[in-house]
Symmetry: C2
Subunit: 367 residues, 2 copies
């Protein structure tokens, strides 16, 4: 039976398999902590990237404080896996999901979530009132800092929502969140920094407005892999949420450079060699996402990848010895989070020997 174990070599893995170079991953973590911790901010990594309490623990051991998840169902897995200080960064809406949040909060009172509407706040409060739970749920106001996705408008609209939350018995406002997702992949570093600092001024300005109106706002949380280094030194920012830095992808590498290394690849096999200059590998849409461009073969200059359906991809080249049936290639994902979501396990190796196998514990947790 196929059953890979620590101590096995990568050659023993079937393909496609998701593999992590531990030396590179550990260096990425050390670089992030070394860059951001001296600024005095909390680092609350976004665990929508790694999807694993084991990896969340490694980040905490390196200096992180808790973690973020996007969805309630991810929070259920992370808390059960021992990561109790969790911020849910998406609005929790609908009676079924609110009921699940109340159940989670009953067991793990450190769980926090974000709110961007009075109707959302009131629904949470009503469910908590009915539950008989005593401690108020900690919530943050989700502020639109220019991404134009979710979030209440900064300034007066945010203050109005704070006042609404202030009138609710079972919610405790503890901060504001603003995610400048639209800036993460700007290639020009100066432009990225300038626009990021402007967005941070909007966010911390809203926090100050709330404080001037009597609200205690200990947490101002923001940032991703493309901006965290700037956010960390912006006045008033207390916490950053980078996630992708641990593994990177081609989209982030193209935008922010090679300070962090691509530490995760998808190992694939050439299954067909139908013509000169083209080989077909066993990794297609079901192994590598395409929303942010196509994956790239690692260490194969001049070789280009194009997916050919769910389970196939073509590698093409002009010169050189090329590839033969049975050859293995490592593919660098274009977008790391949804690519990890396609796989069940990480095979973490050091120089080709598997050291650890981590389940992708929150894979598929979209609720």
């Amino acid at each position: 039976m196929y059953n890979p174990q620590p101590g096995d070599r990568l050659e023993s893995l079937d393909t496609p398999s998701m593999i992590v170079d531990l030396d590179l991953m550990e260096a990425n973590i050390a670089k992030l902590m070394g860059r951001l911790l001296p600024a005095g901010v909390n680092i609350r990594p976004h665990l929508k990237t790694t999807k694993s309490p084991i990896l969340a623990r490694k980040l905490i051991d390196a200096g992180a404080k808790g973690g973020c998840v996007a969805k309630l169902s991810e929070a259920e897995v992370m808390t059960a896996g021992g990561i109790e200080d969790i911020l849910i960064t998406c609005e929790v809406v609908g009676p079924v999901k609110v009921a699940r949040l109340v159940e989670l909060f009953r067991q793990y009172p450190a769980v926090k979530t974000v709110i961007d509407s009075e109707v959302g706040a009131s629904a949470l409060d009503a469910a908590l009132a009915e539950s008989g739970l005593k401690p108020p749920l900690q919530v943050l106001i989700d502020v639109n800092v220019g991404q134009n996705r979710t979030g209440v408008a900064p300034g007066e609209p945010a203050l109005a929502l704070a006042r609404h939350i202030g009138g609710l018995k079972y919610l405790k406002l503890v901060g504001v969140q603003g995610y400048e997702g639209h800036l993460q992949h700007l290639h020009d570093r100066q432009e990225r920094e300038g626009k990021c600092r402007a967005a941070m001024a909007v966010l911390s300005g809203t926090a100050d407005l709330l404080r001037r109106n009597g609200f205690d706002i200990p947490t101002v949380t923001t940032g991703g892999t493309g901006t965290a280094e700037f956010c960390a030194t912006c006045p008033g920012i207390t916490e950053v949420q980078p996630g992708s830095f641990i593994f990177m992808d081609t989209d982030y590498r193209n935008a922010v450079g090679r300070f962090y290394s691509n530490s995760l690849t998808i190992l694939a096999t050439v299954i067909s060699k139908p013509e000169p200059g083209r080989a077909v590998i066993d990794a297609g849409l079901k192994s590598l996402t395409t929303d942010s461009g196509f994956a790239e073969p690692k260490d194969l200059p001049g070789v280009t990848y194009v997916p050919n359906g769910d389970e196939h991809g073509s590698l093409t080249w002009q010169d050189g010895p090329g590839l033969a049936i049975g050859d293995r290639v490592e593919m660098i994902p274009s977008h790391i989070d949804p690519t990890i979501n396609l796989h069940d396990f990480y095979y973490a190796h050091r120089q080709g020997v598997i050291e650890e196998i981590w389940p992708v514990a929150t894979r598929g947790k979209v609720q």
Copy 2:
């Protein structure tokens, strides 16, 4: 604890959830069988769509003969689930995967696979020789009928491969496969039919060439949802492999029309209403794939969907009452197979009452 059960109404489901309208799905199955069975071909549905032995059984009960899968790991799940007559439609390459195939063949001798190279055939034969298993493994030659993905060239190259396989003791050549994947989504029906019939002439011509040279070729297998109706009446075609017809998607609907209905949707919730004319739902890249365009909201004319990251999507509109926080919408996937691969369960309902819950048993089975 959140634990949906048959008998519950759709309103009790958290979102995003993958739901199936049973009336529409059953009509799709009946339409396919009614259209193709009279032509006298075997129907071997491609189970890379449904990813479920339960659904494979429903198709067999309706008239199908066995099923196809793309990958060995899918065949492991399907056979264990009672679907033993399985054709693996991708080449099985590499020592680890070949060893897994031998183990599977030991338990399920009806498993078949395809081959497009002498090196691939010899590797399979050598592993089978070493296994001590007696009955030869049934194989089909994968022929390139114009898709230019995998497959040996038709005519003499296919004959040369047949001769090579004929000299191997542990493989038994039982047919040819050719997939005209490049024609499935041609919007012009006449063009699709004309090019399909030409591709089928290439495939059946190769089968005839092999027969004239002494090979018994009982199976000539091909076709998808966009072409199966034509393939079924082409001379020499014995078997068709449609998969997507059971649920459809917007890409197939746009190409082949509404003979089959969109029977599967992703149920989502409006979690934010940041401005007039725009609502944010909880379904993004992790719930709906984008490789074949963006998903569409069902029964919301004038409303357009754009994904906003892994867990968000924006619905926008010009006129009308629009949507409010907490409203639910059904999203029609653009590409059904990889979208199903993102979810763990089907919730199959009839007029809003859940009748059955099916695990997506081969989700993530990319090996």
